[in-house]
């Protein structure tokens, strides 16, 4: 990087532009290998034919088939799990949003004693080690009668996504220039129109970022779900874990890993398309 920058400064604009493009191509290539290769290998593993194991010294599987995919869809509760995962996630995102909104507003726009403390408290679900939260929290959930209920599952997932939602929204609220609000007030804006015309549009990128984080957190959550959710509710990670933990089966794990990853990646590209600015970084900066 350093050397590139050095060369760039001493060359003409046109060459510099070309160099940038070359560099971009280089980075893209590196990233394609860096990210693409592991995923490609997983795709191959998910397509291994049960009668033709992929073993050393074969560089590629001898024969491909969808048998592993059929196996997963036929013998695991993946369909049910997909339904649960993708209905819990949006609900918990929604709940996290409503819980986060007033808190983030206060943290972002008000001055009060102990603010730093509250900002740190908000991060607790991320800082606390997952399995222990799950084990001790499950006792709390059980005593509240929230175990084995859909609502309890949504609450648990909300809890895990809430830190991102609050911190990201807080940053968005902070970023609203005070003069814009003052101007609106001078022009006689009501509280309602202040919210509708100033706050909401200005926090929208942050909101989307928070949603993306809360959503993926929910899709990935394993520990709490397993203890308070199963057997009534299974999610994709609870099934994935059964093939990755003690009973490690590479071919089946590959299938479920792909089932879990691909929608996330598609969502990423979709959101990137919708939002022109780099929403994630804008709101993560002060996390």
């Amino acid at each position: 990087m350093r050397r590139d920058e050095f060369t760039i400064t001493t060359l003409g604009t046109q060459t510099r532009k070309n160099l940038y493009i070359l560099l971009a191509a280089f980075f893209i290539l590196v990233q394609l290998v860096w990210v693409g290769l592991p995923i490609l290998m997983t795709v191959l593993w998910s397509l291994v034919h049960p009668d033709y194991p992929w073993s050393y010294p074969q560089m590629f599987p001898e024969k491909l088939s969808f048998a592993q995919w059929r196996f997963v869809f036929r013998y695991t509760n993946i369909v049910r799990a997909l339904k649960t995962s993708y209905s819990v996630a949006p609900l918990s995102v929604l709940l996290a949003f409503f819980l986060a909104l007033p808190t983030a507003y206060a943290l972002g726009r008000k001055k009060f004693a102990g603010k730093k403390l509250f900002m740190t408290l908000v991060l607790l679900p991320i800082i606390m080690p997952g399995m222990v939260v799950a084990l001790f929290l499950s006792r709390v959930f059980t005593s509240f009668g929230l175990a084995q209920s859909f609502f309890g599952l949504v609450l648990a997932h909300t809890l895990m996504g809430l830190p991102y939602m609050i911190r990201v929204l807080t940053t968005s609220f902070e970023a609203i220039p005070q003069d814009v609000i003052d101007a609106a007030e001078n022009l006689g804006a009501t509280s309602f129109s202040k919210i509708k015309d100033i706050f909401l549009p200005m926090v929208r990128p942050g909101l989307l970022a928070g949603m993306v984080f809360a959503f993926t957190t929910s899709i990935e959550e394993f520990n709490l779900t397993f203890i308070i959710g199963t057997p009534t509710f299974e999610t994709v990670p609870t099934i994935l874990y059964s093939f990755l933990g003690y009973n490690f089966i590479r071919t089946n794990a590959s299938v479920i890993a792909l089932i879990m990853m691909v929608p996330n990646i598609l969502m990423l590209f979709a959101v990137e398309r919708i939002l022109k600015s780099d929403y994630l970084s804008a709101s993560l900066g002060k996390l």
Binding site: L159, A257, L284, L287
Partner: protein, 285 residues
């Protein structure tokens, strides 16, 4: 900031978010702490004791785990920043292909840690593609044994792979605040690339770097998923040891002690970084 009298109402605003978190996490932290002293135990007994603390603090295995996790925490945060910083510099301004690149880079962010570990061990296995390529290029004679290496490089590698985009996002936002005219001015004054990097980019990006370092440290220090798949046979990371102590050996009180140790270490390191940040940015961070 709106300059107005802070009333009780402000605190009411905090209840939905902070209250929700404190209610659930606070109660589980409370149980963790009390249980580390033998109170409200899972087994039903409740008797104050410091035995579990004494037993664990004098135990070399636990110490090994703490040291291992500290090592993973520091190396992972350093490694991730080292990889993410050049990328962040490059992506600072738009250009051909950069939007696509930016999306591409973010993919691992959306892949769960456990799956990331699984993806990477497929590559670095004995006859995995990395070894095969190295052998084919005559760089090594025999494949390297990279799976579950004793030092933990595999864990660091996977942490870097998974978290570069996360850190990149944080760095990108702090680099975005650097104005182009500052750089142009420096250039006009004859500053070279290295000087610009050392005198402008790095200092101005420092708050972002420190925040990334804290968050990465917390992630890597408390990790159990990646270590359980790619970590060394011994020692387990502190979180993994805690999980095993609780779930495999059913020694909940001891697990609670380990839990408290993790929380305390995290707090101390966060505090140290915060102090460092104040020092670096002159008290504004």
């Amino acid at each position: 900031m709106e300059r107005q009298r802070v009333g009780f109402s402000t605190y009411l605003f905090l209840i939905p978010g902070v209250g929700f978190i404190v209610l659930f996490i606070g109660s589980s932290i409370f149980i963790t702490i009390t249980q580390s002293f033998g109170l409200f135990s899972v087994t039903g007994t409740s008797q104050f004791t410091i035995d579990h603390w004494v037993a664990l603090l004098g135990d070399r295995e636990s110490l090994d785990s703490v040291l291992f996790s500290l090592k993973m925490g520091f190396l992972s945060s350093a490694g991730t920043i080292l990889f993410a910083f050049p990328l962040a510099l490059f992506l600072r301004k738009g250009g051909t292909g950069k939007r696509f690149l930016a999306s591409l880079v973010k993919i691992p962010l959306f892949i769960p840690a456990l799956v990331s570990a699984f993806l990477i061990i497929n590559l670095i296995s004995y006859h995995g593609i990395v070894n095969e390529v190295l052998v084919a290029l005559n760089l090594i004679n025999r494949p390297l044994r990279m799976l579950n290496d004793r030092f933990g490089w595999g864990v660091v590698g996977i942490q870097v792979w998974k978290n570069v985009p996360f850190v990149l996002l944080i760095l990108a936002s702090s680099l975005a605040s650097i104005r182009d005219d500052t750089i142009d001015a420096a250039r006009n004054l004859g500053a070279g690339a290295i000087q610009i990097l050392a005198k402008i980019f790095i200092p101005l990006a420092m708050p972002g770097i420190l925040v990334s370092a804290i968050l990465m440290f917390i992630k890597a220090f408390g990790d159990f998923a990646i270590t359980s798949v790619a970590g060394p046979v011994y020692p387990p990371s502190i979180a993994l040891r805690m999980r095993n102590t609780a779930s495999l050996f059913q020694e909940w009180d001891k697990a609670a002690v380990l839990g408290v140790i993790i929380i305390l270490t995290t707090l101390v390191v966060t505090w140290l970084y915060a102090k460092l940040a104040e020092f670096v940015t002159g008290g504004e961070g």
